[in-house]
């Protein structure tokens, strides 16, 4: 197996984010995810710093690397100048490149993000567009948004904008600009990452015996990844612990 | 003063205690389990009855065991018990023989002198009087010792004595008053009438010379009677209840009843049979080596009897078994403590005495703590093997013992499988020692399953703790052997070629192996085969505990070290080259406590193995690897 640590070191964020950790826990102390999930950024950094291939592989397949919310509060305080959040980003990227992300429930969700935000970027030039935030799918957006959404033109006009206009908020991004974006994605590896996510997800869908479509969101696998919740994200799964223990031994 | 009225306190007391004893005995009998009832019924018409009578005579009257341990203490007990017994027997004979009529009520014999003040002036009666005075003097000498023991226990060779409750004190006071008041009552009576022998006669005439003896005498007869009556009334609620109960206990024991694993009338009888003699205190290492003087068996039994919260006492015991070894009454102190550990703390202190016992008997064994859960254990499929070696948790902390056993077994060509090579499951004994049998059973089942599936004929363990539980609580087809037994077997079979080590060694009997399982000779045979075995001052059944015992749940590490240091000091008095033990826990404990080299018996034997030539060694290690791979 290739050396995962050196592969991580190719990521500039990883190189910047991990020098030497002394396990002080200052990152976990203020980590919103550590309070909510069975998650400890300190421990992840400590595990990565073993440079042990098996351990890193386990991490890439684990739930734990997907818990971080990337608020980056950890960067502010680390007395060794590390950024666990960036280490996580590098791990997540590698996990997707290698297709390991589909091994975990939280990892599989990457497919949903690709199909929403990812597709939006290339289709509309925005990560989020108002006409894509359907109150049916986003009940938590509440009545104000529902009203806004149902009267999109009128509401936007009230605030001095024009939906899909030529300027101002939520203007239409011209086709030639979208083409530039696409070329950037091709040149810089953005497309490759999209493809990696798509391919591994399709494989996983087949493995799980779920319906999969090449586009859109109206199929079983998509619905599954956005809503599945095993409820096991607050405690350490026994088998994971044992594997790490065995590997270390 | 109506002179005969003073017998009333005595009579009331006597009939009370007689009726009480009968009622209580019937109650005990009725609450026995069916098999125990049968045992008792069979015993009543068989040998056990005769054995019991013999034992009662030897132990309850002569106090032979205490005599052996401590002659002064033995004499004290004997003079009081046997002396009083003789006084009653010969008093009754005297009353029947010399009195006005035969077959008198008991009071007539007890107060014989009052009713026959002139008796014994001449002839046979005169000689008989000498004998009766002698008996009284005999008792009084014991009483004197008891008083001395009470105030200066050290003079009796005892470090501590038990503390008394107020009922005990009242009973003791009345007991102590019985014989001096009898002496004075008889003496005044004799003084007034010019009768009596060397004791009562002389004392009586001396007293009469300056006191109005005839007027004073009744007062002392009253005191005598009240003392006796009080003593009888106090008997059931004081420690002196042991006097009648012990008889019952001896009979029950001889009928084959044992303590078992929960409270029963047998434990109740044992509880009452303790005389608080304190022998257990003086042999307790916790007392003399660690300065802990409130947890010994006498206190434990007393707490049980008085239904105090004794959870702290119950837990704080090495369970080494030395006290049980010396208990003159033969109370099964270890099992009694384990029962209490199973019970946890005692919450029912508001109940009356009989209620309490019935509750104790019914209390479930498993309600104590959150249920242990070993659901995480995965069933294993072991490979088949003739001999299964189980090192045990503790032995994993002494890898040199494991290495030695491997060498020995390989050298003898034993085809074995190492059951817990990669870390096994605890044998369950430590849980049992903590009073958690149900949980222990889970582990026992797990291990039993592996042992059965392996098809082993012999199960060898290096740890006496495991050994004891394998033998007593596992249902196995395999013969369980401690490695000292197994090595002895290999030597006897001739499959081990051993050199002789020119070393002087002393052997320490681990509690669980020696007193716990009765294995004394095999280790000695093995050691004598390879080295010179020196004697230790305390060995075999009186071997010392190393202090590291898992039996004690609460003992602080510093105190353990004190016990270990003391035991090691005694063991190494003969300046041996090496201190040999047969328990990894003892080894680890002693290593910290002495500068003398401490080895396990397996290590000693391994050292006596011929050094393998290089070629052989290579072959051996190759074989070992293959075996290890097979095992893995």
């Amino acid at each position: 197996m290739e050396d995962l640590y050196s592969r991580l070191m190719q990521d500039v964020r990883f190189e910047e984010g991990l020098k030497a950790c002394m396990n002080c826990g200052i990152c976990t102390a203020i980590c919103p995810a550590a309070e909510y999930y069975h998650y400890d950024p300190r421990r992840i950094v400590d595990l990565v710093q073993t440079r042990n291939n098996n351990i890193i592989k386990e991490l890439l397949k684990s739930e734990t690397i997907w818990y971080c919310g990337q608020c980056m509060s950890c960067k502010t305080r680390c007395p060794r100048g590390n950024t666990p959040g960036m280490v996580i980003m590098a791990l997540r990227k590698l996990s997707q490149e290698l297709g390991y992300f589909t091994s975990s429930e939280k990892g599989r969700q990457q497919f949903a993000i690709k199909r929403t935000v990812g597709d939006n970027v290339l289709k509309h030039g925005y990560c989020i567009v108002s006409y894509d935030v359907d109150p049916e799918v986003h009940p938590e957006q509440g009545p104000a948004w529902e009203h806004y959404y149902n009267h999109l033109d009128a509401s936007l006009a009230r605030l001095g904008g024009e939906l899909n206009g030529s300027e101002g908020p939520t203007r239409l991004i011209p086709g030639e600009v979208l083409d530039e974006l696409k070329r950037i994605f091709e040149v810089t590896g953005g497309h490759d990452l999209y493809d990696a996510i798509e391919d591994a997800s399709e494989k996983k869908a087949e493995e799980m015996g779920m319906e999969f479509k090449k586009e859109g969101r109206d199929f079983e696998y998509y619905r599954h990844v956005v809503s599945a919740d095993s409820g096991c994200h607050q405690c350490e799964p026994e088998d994971v612990r044992r594997e790490v223990y065995e590997t270390r031994r | 003063m109506n002179s005969d009225l003073f017998v009333i306190p005595f009579n009331l007391g006597l009939y009370f205690i007689l009726i009480y004893s009968v009622v209580r005995s019937v109650a005990w009998f009725r609450s026995l389990s069916r098999p125990d009832k049968l045992r008792l019924q069979r015993g009543f018409f068989g040998r056990p009855f005769m054995d019991s009578l013999r034992e009662i005579f030897m132990e309850s009257l002569l106090h032979r065991k205490i005599f052996r341990k401590n002659p002064v203490l033995g004499y004290m007990h004997m003079s009081l018990a046997f002396g009083w017994f003789l006084l009653i027997v010969f008093g009754t004979i005297e009353a029947d023989f010399f009195g006005e009529k035969h077959l008198n009520p008991p009071s007539h014999a007890i107060f014989f002198r009052w009713f026959n003040p002139e008796h014994g002036a001449e002839g046979l009666a005169r000689i008989y009087n000498v004998w009766m005075d002698f008996l009284l003097a005999f008792i009084l000498s014991g009483l004197l010792l008891a008083v001395i023991k009470r105030f200066t226990p050290r003079m009796m060779g005892m470090k501590k004595t038990t503390r008394h409750t107020w009922t005990d004190r009242l009973a003791l006071t009345s007991l102590w008053l019985i014989f001096p008041s009898r002496l004075l009552a008889e003496s005044f009576t004799c003084g007034a009438h010019g009768s009596g022998s060397f004791l009562t006669g002389n004392l009586g005439s001396a007293l009469a010379s300056f006191l109005p003896a005839a007027e004073i005498a009744p007062w002392f007869w009253w005191l005598y009677s009240i003392s006796l009556g009080t003593f009888f009334f106090m008997l059931p609620i004081s420690r002196y209840f042991h006097i009648p109960v012990e008889l019952f206990l001896i009979f029950m024991r001889n009928s084959g009843i044992t303590t078992g694993d929960r409270h029963s009338s047998y434990t109740e009888v044992q509880t009452h049979a303790c005389s608080s003699c304190g022998v257990c205190i003086s042999v307790c290492q916790m007392s003399y080596a660690a300065g802990i003087n409130d947890i010994q068996s006498a206190y434990f039994i007393k707490g049980l009897r008085n239904d105090r919260d004794i959870s702290a006492i119950t837990a704080n015991c090495l369970m080494c078994g030395r006290c049980e070894e010396v208990c003159p009454v033969g109370i099964e102190l270890g099992p009694m403590r384990l029962i209490e550990r199973r019970q946890g703390e005692r919450a029912d202190r508001t109940l009356s005495l009989p209620e309490r016992y019935s509750v104790m008997r019914k209390r479930s064994v498993t309600e104590k703590v959150p249920t242990q859960s070993y659901g995480y254990l995965v069933r294993e499929e072991p490979e088949k093997a003739e001999v299964l070696f189980f090192a045990g948790c503790m032995t994993h902390l002494t890898p040199s013992v494991i290495a030695a056993m491997k060498r020995i077994m390989e050298s003898a060509g034993v085809k074995y499988r190492f059951m817990d090579e990669k870390g096994g499951v605890c044998c369950g004994r430590p849980l049992m020692l903590a009073g958690r049998d149900r949980e222990a059973r889970e582990l026992i089942n797990h291990n039993s399953d592996i042992i059965w599936k392996s098809g082993a004929k012999i199960l060898v363990t290096s740890c006496p703790i495991c050994y004891k539980v394998f033998r007593e609580s596992y249902y196995l087809e395999a013969t369980v052997m401690h490695h000292s037994e197994f090595i002895n077997l290999l030597i006897e079979e001739g499959s081990l070629r051993l050199g002789y080590l020119h070393r002087k060694v002393v052997y320490h009997d681990p509690c669980e192996l020696g007193r716990g399982s009765g294995i004394y000779e095999e280790p000695r045979a093995v050691i004598s085969y390879v080295a010179e075995l020196l004697e230790a001052s305390q060995e075999r059944s009186m071997s010392l505990c190393c202090g590291g015992s898992l039996g004690n749940l609460t003992l602080a590490s510093g105190k353990k070290a004190m016990i270990a240091a003391d035991a090691a000091r005694i063991l190494t008095m003969s300046s041996p080259d090496e201190l040999i033990t047969a328990c990894p826990l003892c080894k680890k404990t002693f290593v910290q406590a002495t500068k003398t080299k401490v080895s396990d018996i397996a290590e000693l034997v391994a050292a006596a193995l011929p050094a393998p030539s290089k070629r052989v060694a290579r072959r051996r290690s190759a074989r070992a690897t293959v075996r290890a791979n097979d095992a893995g």
């Binding site: 990521d11 500039v12 203020i30 919103p32 995810a33 309070e35 909510y36 999930y37 971080c68 919310g69 990337q70 608020c71 980056m72 509060s73 960067k75 502010t76 980003m89 997540r92 990227k93 969700q109 993000i113 929403t116 935000v117 990812g118 970027v121 925005y126 989020i128 567009v129 935030v133 938590e140 509440g142 009545p143 104000a144 948004w145 009203h147 806004y148 033109d153 009128a154 509401s155 006009a157 009230r158 605030l159 001095g160 300027e167 908020p169 939520t170 991004i173 011209p174 600009v177 530039e180 974006l181 070329r183 950037i184 994605f185 040149v187 810089t188 990452l193 956005v226 809503s227 919740d229 | -």
Partner: protein
């Protein structure tokens, strides 16, 4: 609490915020959910303050949500941002004004990366050229739009029609500030006042007459968490974090929350509705909820703009009690209007007093 201690820290983090000539980049979230804020930012700067703010219609998302949602590689986002720099370079602008805090964080991260790893800058130049034929110069400054409002806060105060005070009693309003995590937690020197006691919103609020509340969870994240909100199953995380903040600020009875990050504004508003639906709890005095406003909206109110033109009605927590308190006369009837000015049916279930 010793205020001089904070002043001492603020003095140490005075970043350079240019005076004029900004190249404006929009925020996906702000333009979608708080379009009025962006419009009024431009209006205030251009009309009230007379500044030159240039917006190139060809600029796009920075892809920041995709980046922090881990579907967009770092190389890609660097190049997308570089394209914006190219547009600015082409238009002759050297100061970037960024509406979004996520974008602002990304711009800071990219600039820092280029500084520490110059090879990444070179690679980005190559990538951009290869993909679009564009070239760029690294801008002189980047400012978050809240930095710019902060810079002109006193000028706004001078033009103020309303202040952040209780019109009836004259007492300052109690305001909770919430700074987007990516504003200065990653690079404290990029934020006004640093990471621990940022001054950017405090300065505005104090200049406009309000009082800032320092409550225990002041620094805690709103809980967006990118993938944590984007994926339905994970939204508990997001709500949990906001709720932690509400419960921490609740004892201080705040009149409003002011935030500089569009995401935070949205979540802290939306989750108040969700919590009410799930647990039946409404925060704020008399169960009115705690209005969550963008700094542009607050500046707009202070300058006397129509709250409904600013878009306050598109928050789940309506600001009517707050407006009343400030003495702003706003007709609740005119909140929800169609293009022709006719009234639309009011949404049910809004949190309003």
């Amino acid at each position: 609490m010793k205020p001089e201690g904070k002043k001492r820290i603020w003095a140490e983090y005075q970043k350079e915020i240019p005076d004029d000539h900004f190249f404006y980049v929009r925020s996906c979230i702000r333009q979608t959910f708080f379009a009025g804020s962006e419009q009024y930012f431009l209006k205030i700067l251009r009309e009230d303050l007379g500044k030159d703010v240039y917006e190139d219609p060809r600029h796009t998302t920075c892809t920041g949500i995709g980046y922090h949602g881990d579907v967009v590689p770092f190389e890609t986002i660097q190049t997308v941002v570089a394209r914006h720099f190219a547009l600015a370079t082409e238009a002759g602008y050297r100061h970037i004004a960024i509406s979004c805090v996520t974008s602002f964080g990304i711009y800071s991260e990219i600039l820092e990366t280029w500084k520490h790893f110059p090879e990444t800058l070179e690679r980005t130049r190559e990538d951009l050229y290869k993909a679009t034929g564009r070239t760029f110069e690294v801008p002189e400054t980047i400012s978050h739009t809240s930095d710019i409002i902060y810079k002109f806060r006193e000028e706004i105060a001078r033009k103020a029609k309303y202040n952040l005070v209780d019109a009836a009693t004259g007492k300052p309003l109690k305001v909770v500030e919430h700074i987007g995590c990516h504003y200065s937690k990653m690079f404290p020197k990029y934020g006004v006042g640093g990471a621990e006691f940022p001054h950017v919103l405090v300065g505005m609020v104090e200049s406009w007459g309000g009082d800032i509340i320092d409550y225990p969870e002041r620094r805690h994240c709103c809980g967006f968490g990118f993938r944590q909100y984007l994926v339905q199953a994970n939204r508990g995380y997001s709500l949990f974090a906001s709720r932690k903040k509400f419960e921490s600020m609740e004892p201080y009875r705040p009149d409003m929350i002011i935030a500089n990050c569009p995401g935070c504004t949205m979540f802290m508003d939306r989750w108040q509705y969700t919590i009410k639906e799930i647990d039946g709890i409404t925060y704020g005095a008399e169960g009115h909820g705690i209005p969550v406003l963008t700094y542009e909206e607050v500046a707009g109110l202070v300058l006397g703009y129509d709250p409904w033109e600013l878009g306050l009605q598109y928050h789940n927590v309506q600001s009517l009690p707050l407006l009343r308190k400030m003495g702003i006369k706003a007709d609740p009837e005119r909140r929800f209007l169609d293009r022709d000015g006719s009234r639309l049916p009011e949404p049910a279930n809004l949190i309003d007093g």
